[in-house]
C-alpha cells in the first residue's frame, strides 16, 4: 500500500482541521494530534505534547538520590522496573559502585519480566486500535500473571520501587522460581493462541502490510530506538551491542523486522518484533533463573549518598527504546540536574514525517505500532 498524494482538484474544497486527543481512545494517554484532513486522508499532522508534564526531572533536584527512586516508576509506568534499573545504574556509575552478582541477576529477571508485560500491553492495545477487542483482553489476562509474580516479589503491581541504588530491595521469595517457570511455560501457548487470533488473521495483516513505513535512514536520523528501530530493519540492541549488567552471560537473539507481510519497517514489522521479543525475554528469564548465584543482594552503601561532583550518562534497553539518564552531581546529597532520554519522545517526533498521505485508520495504526506512552514523552 502506498500513501495518497494529495492534489488540489480545483473544486474549492478546504482542508478540515481535526483535534485527535487529548481524550481519544487510541492516543494511548493524554497526547493531542492536530490533523489537517482531506476527507479521510491526512495532509499534515502536528503533535501537541505536554499534557502529562509532571516535572519529574525538576523534582529530582529537590530529593535525595534514593528518594527519587519511586519517581522513576512513573517515568514509564508500563515498564517501571526498567526505569528503576536505569536510574540505579547511573547513580552507581557516578559513585563507581560494584553491585553484587545476585542483585544484578534479580534486576535482569524483573526487567525482562516487565518487558514481557509491557509488550503485552503494547500488542494488546495495538490490536484494540485495529478493532479487535478480544486479543486486548487476552493480553491483559496474561499480564495479570506477571503482576502476580512481581507483587509477590515486591508487594506492588505497577509502581514497584524495587531496585535500589547498590542492589535490590528484596531477595527472591522461596517459590518465585517455580512460579516464574510455570508462568513462562504458559506464555508460549498463550502467545500461539494470540497469534492465531490476531497476527495470522488476514484482515489484521492487510490492515498493516506496507502501512506507515519508516525507512532505515529515517529511523536512524530521528533517533528512534528499541523495537521501533529494529522493526525498521536496523540490527541494534544495547543488551547485545553495548552489554551491561549480566546480559553477556545469557544468550538470546535480537529479532529484526524483515518485511514479513509487506515492506521492511511497516507497522506489522514493529508489532511482530515485539511478539518475538517477548519470546526472547522469556528465554533470558529462564537462563537467569538457572544461573543465579547465592550471595548478598545489596552492596555496602553509606547511609547518606553523596556522589562526587561530576556527571554520568548511562543508557539501557527499555521496552520503548533506549532509556538514558544523564546525572550531574555537585557533591551534595541531591542531584544538581537529571535529564531523562526516552524512546517515546523520539518516536513521537517521527510521526509528523510519516503521517501525511495516510488515512486516519493508518494514523491510529502508526501511533499504536510505535507504542508511545504519554509520561515518557512529557516526563
Amino acid at each position: 500500500m502506498q500513501p495518497f498524494e494529495l492534489t488540489d482538484l480545483g473544486a474549492g474544497t478546504k482542508e478540515m482541521m481535526l483535534n485527535m486527543g487529548p481524550q481519544h481512545p487510541s492516543t494511548h494517554g493524554v497526547i493531542k494530534f492536530v490533523l489537517r484532513m482531506d476527507g479521510e486522508v491526512v495532509a499534515a499532522l502536528d503533535p501537541d505534547v505536554g499534557f502529562l508534564h509532571r516535572s519529574i526531572e525538576k523534582i529530582a533536584e529537590k530529593l535525595s538520590y534514593p528518594d527519587f527512586m519511586p519517581y522513576t516508576d512513573r517515568v514509564d509506568y508500563v515498564a517501571a522496573m526498567n526505569c528503576n534499573f536505569g536510574y540505579a545504574r547511573v547513580v552507581e556509575k557516578l559513585m563507581k559502585m560494584e553491585v553484587p552478582k545476585r542483585a544484578e541477576y534479580i534486576r535482569v529477571i524483573v526487567a525482562e519480566l516487565n518487558r514481557i508485560s509491557s509488550h503485552l500491553v503494547s500488542v494488546g492495545t495495538f490490536g484494540n486500535d485495529i478493532g479487535a477487542v478480544t486479543p486486548f483482553l487476552y493480553a491483559i489476562r496474561d499480564r495479570e500473571l506477571i503482576n502476580d509474580l512481581l507483587e509477590m516479589l515486591c508487594g506492588a503491581r505497577l509502581t514497584y520501587n524495587f531496585v535500589r541504588i547498590g542492589g535490590v530491595a528484596f531477595d527472591l521469595p522461596d517459590t518465585f522460581k517455580e512460579k516464574a517457570i510455570a508462568f513462562l511455560d504458559t506464555l508460549e501457548p498463550k502467545l500461539k493462541e494470540f497469534n492465531t487470533l490476531l497476527s495470522e488473521n488476514r484482515i489484521f495483516r492487510e490492515r498493516l502490510a506496507g502501512v506507515c513505513v519508516i525507512s532505515k535512514e529515517d529511523a536512524v536520523a530521528y533517533g528512534v530506538t528499541g523495537p521501533n528501530l529494529r522493526g525498521s530493519g536496523v540490527d541494534w540492541d544495547l543488551r547485545r551491542d553495548e552489554p551491561y549488567s549480566v546480559y553477556p552471560e545469557v544468550s538470546f537473539e535480537v529479532p529484526v523486522g524483515g518485511g514479513l507481510v509487506g515492506k521492511v519497517g511497516d507497522a506489522f514489522d514493529r508489532y511482530w518484533v515485539r511478539i518475538k521479543e517477548m519470546q526472547e525475554s522469556a528465554k533470558i528469564v529462564r537462563q537467569c533463573l538457572e544461573q543465579i548465584p547465592e550471595g548478598p543482594i545489596m552492596a555496602k552503601i553509606p547511609r547518606v549518598l553523596k556522589p562526587p561532583a561530576g556527571d554520568a550518562f548511562d543508557r539501557t534497553e527499555a521496552p520503548r527504546g533506549e532509556l538514558g539518564y544523564y546525572l550531574v552531581s555537585d557533591g551534595s546529597s541531591k542531584p544538581q540536574r537529571l535529564k531523562i532520554r526516552t524512546g517515546s519522545f523520539a518516536a513521537v517526533s517521527i510521526i509528523p514525517k510519516i503521517a501525511p498521505g495516510w488515512m486516519i485508520a493508518d494514523i491510529v495504526a502508526l501511533i499504536g505500532s510505535l507504542d508511545i506512552i504519554a509520561p515518557e514523552i512529557d516526563r
Partner: protein, 176 residues
C-alpha cells in the same frame, strides 16, 4: 489471467481460513472457566480463595503486599525516621517525652523508648505506597497492612490518625 484468478481465489480462501481459525480460538475460550474474581464476595486477603468457589490462578495477597500503612503507636519511639524518609511528607508526628523503657526492635536489637507519639497522622490519599518509610523504622511500628479498601466520599477521612488524643479538631486533608 490464470495467475490473477488464482490470486483472487487464494485471497478468498486465505481470508476464510484465518477467520475460521480465529473463530475457533474465541469459541474455545467461550467454554473455558472465566478467571474473574467475584470481588466483594471473594476476600482476596484470605489464605484460601478456593473456599469462595474461586477457580482461577490467583493466590491470596502475598506477604509483602503494600497495602495501607499501619502504625502501632505502642511500640513507636517517635524517632521521626519515617517522616524524614518520606519524599512527599505525608506523615506527621508529634511526640511527648516519657520515662525510658526498652522495647524489642525489628532486627533483634533492643531500642530505647524515650518519646511517645501523641499525634501520628498518615495521609493515605496522598501516600504513594513506596515503602521508603517502612525500611528505616527501628521497631517495626510502621508497617504495611493488607488493607486496600479505602474509597470514601470525603478526602478528610483518608487522613488516618493513629495516635490521636481525644478532642482534637478534624483537620483539613491538605495541611499535611
Amino acid at each position: 489471467m490464470v495467475q490473477s484468478m488464482k490470486r483472487y481465489v487464494g485471497n478468498v480462501g486465505n481470508t476464510t481460513l484465518t477467520v475460521l481459525k480465529g473463530l475457533r480460538v474465541t469459541l474455545i475460550n467461550l467454554f473455558r472457566t472465566p478467571i474473574t474474581i467475584q470481588y466483594p464476595e471473594v476476600d482476596i486477603r484470605q489464605k484460601d480463595l478456593k473456599a469462595f468457589g474461586y477457580k482461577g490462578p490467583l493466590g491470596p495477597l502475598p506477604d509483602r503486599f503494600r497495602g495501607f500503612l499501619h502504625v502501632n503507636p505502642e511500640i513507636c519511639i517517635a524517632c521521626d525516621l519515617c517522616m524524614k524518609a518520606c519524599p512527599i511528607d505525608c506523615i506527621r508526628i508529634e511526640s511527648t517525652k516519657i520515662d525510658k523503657t526498652t522495647i524489642q526492635g525489628k532486627d533483634g536489637k533492643a531500642v530505647n523508648k524515650v518519646k511517645h507519639p501523641v499525634r501520628f497522622d498518615i495521609h493515605l490519599g496522598k501516600c504513594m505506597y513506596c515503602g521508603l518509610c517502612v525500611e528505616p523504622c527501628p521497631t517495626g511500628a510502621i508497617s504495611f497492612s493488607k488493607e486496600f479498601e479505602g474509597a470514601t466520599s470525603t478526602l478528610n477521612t483518608l487522613v488516618v490518625h493513629f495516635a490521636e488524643p481525644k478532642g482534637l479538631p478534624v483537620r483539613e486533608a491538605t495541611i499535611l
